[in-house]
Structures are given as C-alpha cells and as structure tokens.
C-alpha cells in the first residue's frame, strides 16, 4: 500500500475503485485496472519501444521489444510491458542499463534477419524498425553470416505486396485480418525456422481492409501497389482530413508530394474509425490524379463540346436560369461536396426560387428518418441491441461494419438482422432472418414478440441501423419496417445509413427536397418538360438512379442541363454546359457524416485545371443573377451558415473543430411523407429482385482509380442452388431475366446466401444493367428467370 498524502486528497474527486497508481521512472502515473504498462507509459509520454503492440488490437507479446523492469519481491524483473497489466504501487523502470541491454539485444536479433535494404524500401524514413534501431539499438551489428532469402516481393492480393525478408513476424497484419477485419486470409505458415506470413495457395488476401495492414506494418514487408516507389516519406506533406467516400466519415491524413495526391492514411478518431480505412477510401485518391478529369468549362455545340472560359460558361448558365419559367429550375445532388458547398447552393436555390432540389438520387431514405432520436456509432456499439434494417454494411459502410463487428465480438451488443439476403454481418448476428423484399414490416412484429427477443430488447438500449437494403424496393418499405420496430421499441434511436459522403450535410444545409419534390419527382417533372434548367451538382442520375428509364426520360426532357462534376460522367455527357468541379483534397470545408458529426475536410493540392469548388460556382451565379452576395471566402460562408442554421453553432466551423468533430443536430425540412406503398401479391414472376451495392463497382471514382478498377466483378444474378436446379440452368450460363418492362441476359450463379425466390443482383457491375427492369412506381420488382 502506498501512503496517501492527506494534503492532496482534499481537492481530489471521489476515488475511482478502478484507479491504480504506478511509478514509471520515478514519476507517479495514474492508470486504471486492466491497463497495460505500455499504455500507462504512453499516457505520460514515456516511450517504450515496440513493434507488435497496437492499442486497437489484442496484445500478443510477439516481438519482445517492449521489455521493462518491474520491481518484484525478489528484486527487479524483466517483463514484457505490452502483456503486463498495471497493479497498484507497481514500480516500473524503462531506463536502467539492464533494460537498455535487453532492448538493444532484441533490435540486434530482429535486424539479424532483416535485409537492411532501407535505401530502396518504401518504409524507409517512416519505419518503426529503422527509427527504433537508431533510438533503442546498439548501433553495431555482430551478425556476419548470410541472411535468409525469399523471393521478393510477392503479390498477396491485387493491392498488397509482401516482402518476407523484411518481415519481423510481429503478427500485426495477421492479427488485424483475424481480429479486426474478420477476414483471416493471411496466417503464419511454415512455423519454426521459416515462419512466414502467407495466404492459402491461390486464395489471395482479398479483404476490403487489406490496406490497413500496410499502414500498421512496422517494417516495409507489406506495401500497397498504388504507393510503391511513388515518394519518400520526407517528401510528403500532409494535412488531416475526413474521408468522404461514404458517409461514415473516417478520419484520414491526405499526403501529397509535388502537388499530387499520393496516399491516404487512417487517423485514429475514437468515436468513428479507430484508425482504420476501407480499401476503396484508402486508394481512390488515384481518381483525383486521373488524366480524365475535367479541366475547363465546356459548352456543347451540336454534338461536341468546346472548351469555354469560366465567364462565358457561367454567363450562359445564368442566362438560362434568368429565362427559365418560374419554378422550373431543378438542382440534383450536392452530397459529394462540403457543407459549405451545400449551404451556398441552398442559398442560391432560395434566392432564385428553386423549389425542386434533392441531394439524394432516389436511393436513400426520406429526411423524416432524421426526425427520430438519433444514434451515434459509439452509442450503437456501447451496449444493448442493434437492429439492422440496412444494406450490407460490409459492402456499403465498411468501417461501420468493423465497429459493429468489434462490438459483437467483445460481447457488448447483440445484432438482430432482418435482410433479404445474407450480409457480411449475418454470421455475427444473434438473430438473422431472411425477409423477402417488401415484407420486412410484416415480419417484424412477430420476430420482436418472441420471448427471448423481447427480453433482449428490454435489457438495454436499442439502436436501429436503417437504410435502403434493396434499390429495387421502395424506400417506404424500409420506413414501414422502421415504424414497426419503433412500435415495439419506442425508445430506440436510429442510425441512418446514407449513401454518399455528405448526404446528411447536404440535406441539412439547404438541399433537402421541398414539398415532397424529391429526385424522382424532379426527374418525372423534367420528363414532362417542366424543367427548363436541370443542374447536376456532382450527381449522375443515369448511373445511380435505380429506375434508369426515369433517369433517361428526366435528362432527355430537361431543356437545358448543367453538370458540375469532376468527370464527364454518363449524365454529364448529356449536359449543355459542363463545369469542372474541384475534387476531394482540392478544397477546404466541413462535412457531416451519418451521425451528424461535423469534421473538417482540407485542401492539399491545387484544383485540377481550372476547376473550382462548388460553393465558388454558386457565389458567381448568385452575383450574375443580380443578387447581393457578400461571400468571398470560405469563412464568410461558415459565418453565415452558423448564423442561419440552428444547431450549427460557431463551434462547428473548420478552424474550431478538432479530430473527432462535433455531432450537431440539424433537422432538415421534412417534406411530405411519401405515400405508403404496399407490396402487391406476387405475380406470375417467381423471383423477387434484390439489387444492392458492392464496395467495388463501376462508380466513376473507382474505375478512374487504376488499382481499384479491376476489383468490380462481372454482373451476375445470384439465386438459391435449388432455384438454379428449378430454372434448369447450369452455374455460370446465361439466363434471361424478364418482367413486363424489359428483359436482360445475365450469367446465373448459385448462392446459398440468397433465400429461395429471391434473385440478387449486385449493382453497377460489368455487364448487362438490371435497372432496365426497375420502375419506381412499383414498390417491389418481380422477375422471371429462364434458361436459354
């Protein structure tokens, strides 16, 4: 027992029963029961060298580098500080000659088999082994023998290369793959003298999270193809930002050299991503460097585009808006930009009297989903029950999948999943039931009334993760299912699963539909000739709207189309004027994730060509249209935003927000609820169409990133093996998928993750487009499948 100095205790808060006090190198350090010595030392900046220890993964004591001395009954004892928990009164020394000798010995042993090819190694300059060999090594090696040799490097996936000579067997990548990602596709093999990390023969490390292993590798053993030999760490400049590839909003650093983006690395934001990124978010910086980017404004004359000056292009847009009939200007999109972009376009829309606007492309949920009590990622993972009425989170919001999976693995929460086919979270779910699209709301009361389920629901908080699981199913079915759950668990909170990075920000800051005029209604109005000017703000309806027929009619029916985009997308190539937009990494601002968390995004490189941030274009147009505008800088907009939007206080401007951001509650104007649609009885078509997204598809940001472009798969229709027999087609052969609207030909695959009677088609893969069969006025789509 340590003696307590009574003079200090007077102003101390009440004693925490888990509080532990230890001494490190003579300094008293406050820790908590269960903390490791290395973590306690980190908290007071007493650095203990380490390779295998990672605060977000379990300790394994593989590398033995973090040895320190702990005072014991028989004198000082050498322990591994990443495996030894603190104890009250523990005396730790990290600076004795014995510790120094042990640590130097470990470095020498690790270096004995390390090739020391630092001059040609990508990790050189930011390498924990290199750095710690200098800071904690002896400086001289006694090893004169031949080192071990392996073939180097070998590709263990499309993205990751492995150099086994450099590997120090710290178990970080293999632990990550197993513990964090749940894809144990790499493992130690040939254990013994030749232990090496390896995949199974012919089974690559095809994990959506493989890039994280490259980031956490403490040596240059794992390298990622997009960054190999691209730059040296000391040439990189970096700024901390937020990934806007999906709506999770993972914290990143954006690194560049010579004004070219070269790498994103995950940053540990405790409430969001814990340092992890998905491969799509990590490697899609390549699309920003793409040569196919739009670089100048273009005006269509006849069938070709001619480069134009910004003033000519903007004037031609302004002229069209000026001469448009009242209420005939429409804005689609905005979810790819920043909050400031959305706010300025919302302000422009208000000034011009635009009633038709929507940041979603008929692929999300109505804004009324924000009117329920809102959950955060942390609150969902903290405990209780999480009910999934959502698309496959592993495919759409990969890092949210990691967080929920982690909470299940640590037995903090139980998952109840209601889905139309098996998802990445199915095997972690406590209950997972298959409800055919359109029937979830009917199944839920029965499911939640089961004795064990209702006991579970009443045992703790309930969070509903709600999103559109099936693009061929109307949003109203998800909203009905949500209401059905809330009827049983009225105190549940909702975590909306949103598509595209800043949907929530765009909807909250001025680009939410007015009077129920959502994207579908806008496109319908356009098809009828009621839209004189259709502005596509980073939106590509032809690629994203599930009812492709509606998108086609909408684009064709608009009298004048303006596309503000980074690439000449399918829809932009129908535009009369194309304005090049600054991409991610080319503009400053803030973004809002699915929780409503506002974080900063930063400019790291000069915008491509003459492209401009969306907000600048809005300001220009505002001025050209004769409205007074006092906006010249981003902070002008942020001031106006803080003043105009309740809940968006001064604390949320880019300069004020820190790494973890601030969760704001801004309620977007809720438009009239869509009419509830009831799934009609099954017609003569025996398969219900289930259209959902995969992480890698033909999206513009993916196909313009060379390292990701090959990861989209061929379009297939997946049906249950027994259904495959019934259809009478062989695996992999073409079948005809038909309904009353159209008919397409797709290869068929058997999958036991799809229930009988469902035909699952991944969205936007290479091949025939199943959207031809979808009409949004039908709340579910049934199809017939025939062998050919």
């Amino acid at each position: 027992m340590t003696t307590i100095d009574t003079t200090d205790t007077n102003d101390l808060p009440p004693q925490d029963p888990n509080a532990v006090s230890i001494t490190i190198n003579g300094r008293t350090v406050a820790a908590r029961k269960g903390d490791l010595i290395i973590a306690a030392a980190d908290s007071v900046d007493e650095y203990i060298p380490r390779f295998c220890y990672h605060p977000r993964m379990s300790s394994v004591g593989m590398c033995r580098q973090c040895m320190v001395e702990v005072e014991g009954p028989r004198g000082p004892m050498m322990v591994v500080s990443c495996m030894t928990p603190v104890a009250d009164g523990q005396i730790v020394r990290t600076d004795t000659p014995q510790v120094k000798r042990a640590q130097e010995g470990m470095i020498e042993l690790l270096l004995a088999n390390h090739p020391l090819d630092c001059p040609v190694c990508d990790k050189g300059g930011e390498c924990p082994l290199q750095d710690q060999a200098f800071s904690h090594g002896a400086g001289e090696s006694r090893f004169v023998e031949e080192k071990r040799h392996y073939e180097k490097p070998i590709a263990i996936s499309e993205l990751v290369f492995l150099d086994r000579e450099r590997c120090i067997l710290c178990d970080r990548c293999t632990r990550f793959a197993d513990e964090v990602a749940g894809d144990p596709l790499i493992s130690f093999t040939q254990r013994g003298n030749n232990t090496q990390v390896m995949t199974f023969p012919d089974e690559p490390f095809a994990s959506y999270f493989s890039g994280n292993t490259v980031q956490i590798c403490p040596v240059g053993a794992l390298t990622a193809s997009p960054y190999r030999f691209k730059a040296r760490p000391w040439d990189l400049e970096q700024r901390e930002s937020t990934c806007t590839t999906c709506s999770v909003g993972c914290r990143t650093v954006v690194q560049s050299s010579r004004d070219e983006l070269l790498r994103y690395q995950g940053v540990d934001s405790d409430p969001v991503n814990w340092g992890w990124l998905c491969d799509k978010g990590r490697f899609n910086f390549q699309s920003i460097n793409s040569d196919d980017r739009l670089s100048t404004p273009q005006i269509k004359s006849g069938d070709t585009y001619a480069a134009a000056s910004w003033s000519d292009a903007l004037e031609s847009v302004a002229r069209v808006i000026r001469h448009s009939r009242e209420g005939s200007v429409a804005i689609l999109g905005g979810a790819r930009g920043t909050n400031e972009d959305a706010f300025m376009w919302g302000a422009l829309a208000d000034a011009v009297g635009v009633t038709m606007r929507d940041a979603q492309l008929d692929d999300g949920l109505p804004e009324s989903v924000f009117s329920y009590a809102q959950a955060t990622i942390d609150s969902a993972c903290a405990g209780g029950t999480v009910i999934l009425l959502a698309p496959d989170l592993k495919e759409e919001l990969p890092v949210l999948y990691l967080r929920l999976r982690d909470a299940v693995q640590k037995k903090k929460i139980r998952l109840i999943e209601i889905s139309s086919h098996e998802t990445g979270l199915t095997k972690y779910a406590w209950k997972s039931i298959r409800a055919e699209s359109g029937t979830a709301a009917g199944v839920i009361p029965m499911l939640l009334a089961q004795a064990d389920v209702s006991a579970q629901l009443s045992s703790g908080p309930v969070v509903i993760v709600a999103g559109r699981p099936n693009l061929a199913e109307s949003a109203s079915h998800t909203m009905d299912a949500l209401s059905a759950v809330l009827a049983v668990a009225p105190s549940a909170s909702v975590l909306p699963v949103l598509r595209r990075g800043n949907v929530r920000g765009a909807l909250s800051l001025g680009l939410a539909p007015r009077n129920g005029n959502d994207a579908a209604a806008i496109l319908e109005a356009s098809a009828k000739g009621n839209v004189d000017c259709l502005i596509l703000l980073g939106a590509d309806p032809l690629s994203d709207v599930a009812d492709i027929d509606l998108a086609r009619r909408g684009i064709a029916g608009a009298k004048f189309v303006v596309a503000i985009d980074t690439f000449l997308t399918a829809s932009a190539s129908h535009a009369d004027v194309v304005l090049p937009a600054a991409a991610y990494g080319e503009k400053d601002g803030t973004t809002m994730n699915l929780e409503g968390r506002v974080t900063s995004v930063v400019q790291k490189i000069t915008p491509h060509g003459t492209s401009r941030a969306d907000w600048m274009i809005a300001v220009e147009l505002l001025t050209l249209l004769g409205h007074e505008s006092n906006f010249t800088t981003l902070s002008d907009i942020q001031d106006a935003m803080s003043a105009a939007v309740p809940g968006f206080g001064t604390t949320t401007t880019a300069v004020a927000i820190k790494r973890d951001g601030v969760v704001v509650s801004v309620a977007p104007p809720s438009s009239a609820p869509a009419a509830t649609s009831v799934a009609g009885p099954r017609n003569s078509y025996e398969f219900r169409l289930d259209l959902s997204r995969k992480l890698f598809d033909r999206a513009i940001g993916t196909i313009t990133s060379p390292s990701l472009a090959n990861l989209a798969t061929e379009a297939n229709v997946f049906i249950h093996p027994l259904d495959l027999d019934r259809v009478g087609a062989a695996e992999g052969t073409n079948v005809r998928v038909t309904n009353s609207h159209s008919s397409i030909v797709l290869p068929v695959r058997a999958s036991s993750s799809v229930p009988r009677g469902t035909a699952w088609v991944p969205f936007n893969q290479i091949g025939a487009d199943v959207r031809e069969l979808i009409r949004r006025n039908e709340s579910i789509i049934d199809v017939r499948i025939e062998s050919m």
């Binding site: 144990p184 596709l185 790499i186 493992s187 040939q190 390896m198 199974f200 089974e203």
Partner: protein
C-alpha cells in the same frame, strides 16, 4: 481426390463432436485427409476449414507447422533414414547412399512409380538401435544395406502391407469414442478464451 469423401465427412463430424470447439479437431481432420489422399491436398484443407469454421489460410498455417503433413504427393512408402549423431556414426550415410542407388532417386524425392519416397530425418529417438529408419513411421532398427534391400523387396512385393499400411494411415484400427464420451459443442457463453482450472475458476 480432393475434398473429403462423404464417408470421411461423416467421420469428421464425429471427431468434431469430441471437442467443445470445432477448431480443436483441425489436426485429427488433417490426418484424416492425409489418410484419404496420401498427402494433404489444398482442397481438403479448404474443406476442413469449412467443417471447423476456420479460413483455409488458418488451416494451412496450422498444418504447415508439422513435418509429418505433406502438401505434395509422396510415395506409398515414405522411408525416413535418421541422419543424426548416433546413426551417422553407425553408418547412416552409407545406408542413404545405398538407398539412393537401389531406388535410383535422391534423398527427398519419389520414385517414378510413386512407391517410395526417401527422406533424411532428424533423430528418431532410437539411438541405441542405430542406424535406424522408419517406413511410414514404423521403425526398423540396426539396418544394414542388405536388410534395406530386403525391406524394399518386401515392401514392393506387398508382404508387409499388414504391418505397414500406405502413407497417411495413422493406425490400422480406427479409434472410436462413444458419442456420450465426447464433450461436444457447448454453449458459447461457457467457453472461455483462457485456461480454466479443474474447479472451474479462471486460470489467470
């Protein structure tokens, strides 16, 4: 020959039933696969992964630790000649040369007819009986080149097949454990990651 046969899947399920965690059956199932095909095929490892709930890489990671699991085809008879100290002093090198000449192959390779594989082994713990060798892990002690010739003749003629089954067969009698003696799957909540003392308290 690839995945486990239907009969072996039935056996595999019985073996898995003996353990509280399916993964514990990985090594017995690898033996089963090696018995089926003479070596452990990639397809069998994937199949075992499916049966015990592990990835193929994890099964391979476990299997590749063990010298006695072979991942390439080996002969029906695997002859391991000990080359460690006692045997080396008592003429193991001559024995190896003789075996190489007799079979027309080098140490570490397999005859063209797929009958014999020669391997140099580390100490087989029979130093008093040096030089020794094993055929499919069945001992032969104080082996002279002549005795080796006789052994190879007998193996070729099949007269030893009752004593020395083909490579991969662990024992000619299969162990059967009545179902009620198996621990079997238990409720996941009662399985701890840490060792447990006999009285049910956590070990640490």
């Amino acid at each position: 020959m690839a995945r486990l046969t239907e009969e072996n899947v039935r056996l595999a399920r019985e073996i898995i039933g003996r353990y509280p965690k399916a993964r514990s059956a990985t090594i017995p199932l690898l033996h089963l696969a090696q018995e089926q095909d003479g070596y452990v095929t990639n397809e069998a490892m994937s199949h075992i992964g499916e049966l015990v709930g592990a990835s193929s890489a994890e099964v391979f990671g476990t299997a590749s630790f063990y010298e006695m699991f072979k991942f390439e085809p080996v002969g029906k008879y695997l002859i391991n000649i000990c080359g460690t100290m006692s045997c080396a002093l008592m003429g193991a090198e001559e024995l190896m040369h003789h075996a190489e000449e007799r079979l027309g192959i080098k140490m570490g390779s397999t005859t063209a007819d797929g009958k014999f594989t020669l391997e140099r082994a580390e100490c087989q713990a029979a130093c008093t009986e040096a030089p020794c060798l094993q055929v499919n892990y069945r001992y032969r002690y104080r082996v002279t080149p002549d005795q080796l010739d006789t052994l190879i003749d007998d193996l070729s003629a099949g007269t030893l097949s009752s004593e020395i089954p083909a490579h991969g067969v662990v024992a000619s009698v299969r162990q059967h454990i009545p179902a009620d003696r198996g621990v079997g799957a238990v409720a996941p909540e009662t399985v701890t990651e840490n060792p447990v003392w006999l009285d049910g308290k956590a070990a640490l």
